[in-house]
């Protein structure tokens, strides 16, 4: 067993940290207030290689390991949650399905520009009446002479107000079209006639990451817009969500790290009753709890990332095993990712609360970073599958694991 990153990954992490602190973290407060992540952030993260970490070299990617990508995600999340979410929705949630299921021509035309940060994508699944129960969506694509006609509405879509493309989950066909088997994904150019978008929604947190609605009114799509085969949509979305769970856990750990650093520093500078508040037991114990939860979530995240790397390495014919033997135990990787997100988001919500408490009144002021982190983090227990959904995934795997 070895809990340390190797030298190369450590150097990469240090290099990327310096970049993020200077270019992203330094302006995170202003960016939050402005309500939008500057386009230059997408481009700078493209130039340094972050956007393409998990993408193929031929499209401008890095072909990094999941461990490396996870380390980078934690660092970016620590610098700016909004940037992390918007860039992640573009290159991960959107870029992932495109890289796996789009045609060679589509990949060639979209991916290099996407990874350079000059094009923005999003994944459109949720609808006004459909959240956790993904298979109940109503957006529908009908076959037409030239391809498909798309009608419906999506909401809470990260990057919808600014996106150039979306991967849209819709029902295909008219007859028997209400089964899970009719769910299909479409690559949709958001500049097409019939596509309109709502204004960026006002949110509790992540205010610089624009979120909104997409409306499709008889949008004519070419035949090649269908990603993969008809009926593969549910699986594609679940694959994207599985990767998102790990990324969200990385976001939580990065946020906890920021809370730890700020709380540690503040509690040493701030004096009350004649000494630094860090010397008062009730504050010292909050710092100890922040550190404990940070370390617990970090280790679980890194082990899961390491397991997903193993899962990829053991793929046969492009198909990764869903379960792995690990230290004598059978691990369901999908459930492990859900468990990791569940723990990290639970702990991160608790930790942001502790961090604000350590800061006292200052923690309630936007001038201090922990104020923003407290607002931002709530999404982690909701987005990418609510904690309630993660618990079901974990419990179902557990019930399967243990015989009667």
């Amino acid at each position: 067993m070895d809990f340390e990153l190797n030298q190369e990954d450590k150097e990469f992490a240090e290099h990327f940290r310096r970049f993020c602190e200077k270019e992203i973290g330094a302006v995170a407060g202003e960016v939050d207030e402005s309500g939008s992540v500057p386009r230059s952030h997408y481009e700078a993260l493209g130039a340094i290689g972050y956007n393409g970490l998990l993408h193929r070299r031929e499209f401008g990617g890095q072909e990094a390991s999941i461990v490396q990508a996870t380390v980078a995600q934690m660092i970016l999340a620590e610098a700016c949650g909004s940037t992390f979410f918007s860039v992640g929705a573009s290159c991960g949630l959107f870029g992932g399905p495109v890289a796996s299921y789009a045609s060679a021509a589509q990949k060639k035309s979209i991916l290099p520009t996407l990874l350079a940060g000059k094009l923005i994508g999003c994944l459109a699944v949720t609808e006004p009446d459909t959240g956790s129960d993904v298979s109940a969506i109503r957006t529908r694509a009908k076959r037409s002479a030239n391809g498909f006609v798309l009608n419906g509405q999506k909401t809470f879509i990260t990057n919808a107000p600014i996106g150039d493309y979306a991967v849209v989950l819709a029902r295909l066909g008219e007859e028997n079209a209400d089964s899970k088997g009719s769910l299909s994904c479409f690559l949709v150019d958001l500049h097409l006639p019939g596509v309109t978008r709502g204004k960026a929604m006002r949110k509790m947190g992540l205010r610089a990451s624009p979120t909104g609605e997409l409306f499709f009114d008889n949008v004519e799509l070419a035949a090649e817009s269908l990603l993969g085969a008809p009926g593969q949509g549910f699986r594609m979305v679940m694959e994207a969500f599985a990767m998102e769970r790990l990324a969200l856990a990385a976001y939580c750990v990065g946020t906890m790290k920021a809370c730890f650093d700020d709380s540690r520093r503040y509690s040493r500078e701030r004096k009350a009753f004649g000494r630094p508040i860090a010397k008062h037991q009730s504050v010292a114990f909050m710092l100890a709890d922040i550190k404990t939860k940070l370390e617990a979530a970090y280790l679980l995240l890194m082990e899961t990332a390491w397991l997903v790397d193993r899962q990829r390495a053991e793929a046969v014919g492009g198909k990764s095993p869903s379960r792995l033997m690990h230290n004598g135990y059978v691990i369901d990787i999908n459930a492990r990712a859900a468990e990791t997100k569940l723990l990290a988001s639970t702990y991160a919500r608790e930790v942001t609360n502790l961090a604000v408490q350590v800061h006292g009144g200052a923690g309630y002021m936007e001038e201090y970073r922990v104020c923003r982190l407290y607002r931002d983090i709530k999404i982690a227990e909701i987005g990418g599958g609510t904690s309630e959904i993660q618990k079901q995934i974990v419990a179902h795997a557990e019930i399967k694991r243990v015989g009667v």
Binding site: L287, A288, E295, E303, H326, K391, E398, I399, R401, V404
Partner: protein, 381 residues
């Protein structure tokens, strides 16, 4: 990064678990009711190599490292469903004997370690006193005064695991009051030394298959060569060398117990039917299962990291302390929630979860309370 255990260690873990299932588990309920430590099981543990697992081979041990000992403890606790015996083992091997192994002279090791590895003798540690717990060093009242070639000990030690059955105890006593924690020395006290006696067996909430008592020193004569390390170096040197082992290896019992309770409760939830279906189908039950699973996995990693750092020779005050806080608080939560799954049966002796519920309560008290752990973490940040 590499999160894999060696194949040998995974195999060894399974053999320890099987040993515990075969030799310990069948009588765990009865020994708990009888508050009885069993010398026959102890002898078998010695033969299997558990009692001297982490002692050097030249002294009859198996030379295992901290990670191996941690994993073995976890497997033993999981298979045995016997927190008390797991505790007696830890008190004997880790806190009782490791001070001799890590800091003792060649003569001390030769005299004591082989007998302790085989199980012929039982060891324990005397640190806590009736009036000194968390402030062990600052409030210690047991004194040792040098008289010729002996030290004369006076005082009492409290809550001593293996007290009623121990043959030799590692005992801390003040040798220079003015120096505070820097004035404490460590002695090896045999049960037959003049002036030593054992108080009555204490009745406990849990861990009842281990025995606990007071140790009383009334002009107890200890030969000077039975001092570990130099005078006044006891608390810091011996404590430092041993306590992080304790916080790692003994805490592994919580992990094993949590794992057993989780598996047992899932089995129960699949078999138990209410409102026309297995209770495992209810989201309220699934919520508990998922929460315990995630805390188990995180606790295990924290503990393994602490063990690996010990094996790399790195000090791990933060890592061992936060592993202990996280794991021992998680196992209490797990015992409560897995108890809820068992409903009324959680309250009945026959079910291991009832015993685990009582046993695990010691976790956040012994070996440094959670409050002391948090103080150590905060002081080292």
């Amino acid at each position: 990064m590499d999160f894999s255990l060696s194949k040998e260690l995974v195999d060894f873990r399974e053999s320890v678990r099987q040993f515990a299932i075969q030799h310990v588990k069948p009588t765990a309920e009865q020994r708990d009711l009888d508050e009885r430590w069993d010398p026959d099981i102890w002898r078998k543990m010695g033969e299997f190599g558990l009692l001297g697992l982490c002692f050097p081979e030249e002294y009859g041990g198996s030379g295992a490292d901290c990670l191996t000992t941690t994993v073995a403890t976890e497997a033993f606790a999981e298979g045995a469903t016997d927190g008390g015996l797991t505790l007696a083992w830890g008190a004997h091997t880790i806190i009782g004997t490791m001070p001799i192994v890590l800091c003792g002279t060649k003569e001390q090791k030769e005299r004591y370690v082989p007998k302790l590895a085989s199980g012929e003798w039982v060891a324990g540690l005397g640190l806590t006193e009736p009036g000194s717990g968390s402030d062990a060093a600052g409030s210690m009242e047991t004194r040792a005064e040098k008289k010729g070639d002996r030290y004369i000990l006076n005082g009492a030690k409290m809550f001593i695991t293996n007290g009623p059955i121990g043959d030799v105890f590692t005992v801390m006593a003040v040798t220079d009051k003015k120096k505070g924690p820097l004035g404490i020395s460590v002695f090896l006290v045999e049960k037959n030394f003049p002036g030593f006696r054992v108080g009555k067996k204490l009745k406990k909430m849990g861990m009842r298959s281990s025995t606990t008592s007071e140790l009383i020193f009334e002009d107890c004569e200890v030969p000077a060569e039975n001092m570990i390390e130099k005078p006044n170096s006891g608390f810091l040197r011996v404590g430092k060398a041993t306590l992080e082992w304790e916080r790692t290896v003994l805490v592994a019992s919580a992990i094993g117990s949590m794992h057993h309770m989780l598996d047992e409760s899932i089995r129960y939830a699949k078999a138990r039917r209410q409102f026309g279906e297995p209770i495992a189908r209810f989201q309220a039950i699934q919520e508990k299962i998922s929460r315990v699973r995630m805390k188990l996995d995180a606790s295990r990693l924290l503990l393994y990291k602490s063990a690996v750092m010990k094996d790399q020779g790195k000090p791990a005050p933060i890592e061992s302390s936060l592993a202990k806080v996280h794991a021992t608080e998680a196992v209490i939560e797990a015992a409560y929630e897995m108890g809820q799954i068992h409903g009324g049966y959680c309250f009945i002796h026959e079910y291991p979860v009832e015993r685990a519920y009582r046993d695990c309560r010691l976790g956040t008290l012994g070996g440094g309370t959670s409050e002391v752990m948090r103080s150590i973490i905060a002081a080292n940040l």
